[in-house]
Symmetry: C2
Subunit: 124 residues, 2 copies
């Protein structure tokens, strides 16, 4: 079974070099040589990463023989965000809970400090 589109997208994004390539392409199209420069990687290594990105539909490459400029195609990212958005209420909930916990902790601390002051236990 060939991997589904969303799996291909997430797999392509699961590598810091590939994410950095996408970051570079967000500033404009670039050739393989231009992309290889900042990464201190061999051209075959970069080409392999570009192949993964191309198969996932995150980049497109020109068809001109020698110079095949790459450009960003962000549509698969939209699909990834749409999938992730179904879980928004869960991460918002967990932050709310953390927020509640921190507030509770601060309230307790204040109470304790006040208690110490009232009991003249403060060191002067």
């Amino acid at each position: 079974m060939s991997p589904d589109r969303l799996s291909l997208t997430f797999a392509a994004l699961a590598d810091p070099t590939r994410r950095a390539i996408l970051g570079r392409l967000s500033r404009g199209g670039a050739s393989v040589t231009e992309l290889a420069g900042p990464f201190d990687m061999s051209l075959p290594a970069i080409s392999k990463h570009l192949g993964v990105l191309e198969r996932s539909g995150l980049i497109a490459r020109g068809r001109r023989a020698q110079w095949r400029p790459c450009r960003l195609k962000a549509k698969p990212m939209k699909e990834a965000v749409d999938w992730l958005e179904h879980y928004r209420r869960f991460w918002e909930q967990s932050f709310d809970r953390l927020d509640d916990y921190l507030r509770e902790l601060q309230a307790k601390e204040k109470k304790q400090t006040r208690g110490k002051k009232d009991g003249h236990s403060k060191i002067c």
Copy 2:
């Protein structure tokens, strides 16, 4: 080098079974046996997927000896969305462009239909 957190998250999401497990856990905590049921998978196969999800921080598992319920932890998803959001303008742009193109196409079609009508080339 151990993979960075974001790479772990994307890699964990790059599998339809793991995404389905997260979907099941979004409806409430579940044991490994409960999770294995709908997938028609062996317990070791499900356990392997749960291991990947746990290492990425997308689920947490209880520590009670026999029954180790799994629950969803959505925080890594927020980080993934935050990263993807940097590219929003690109996918919105590409949809805008598609929209422009379709509008242009419709306008051309209308013009052609009108032209044919004016030239009495319509078949009655």
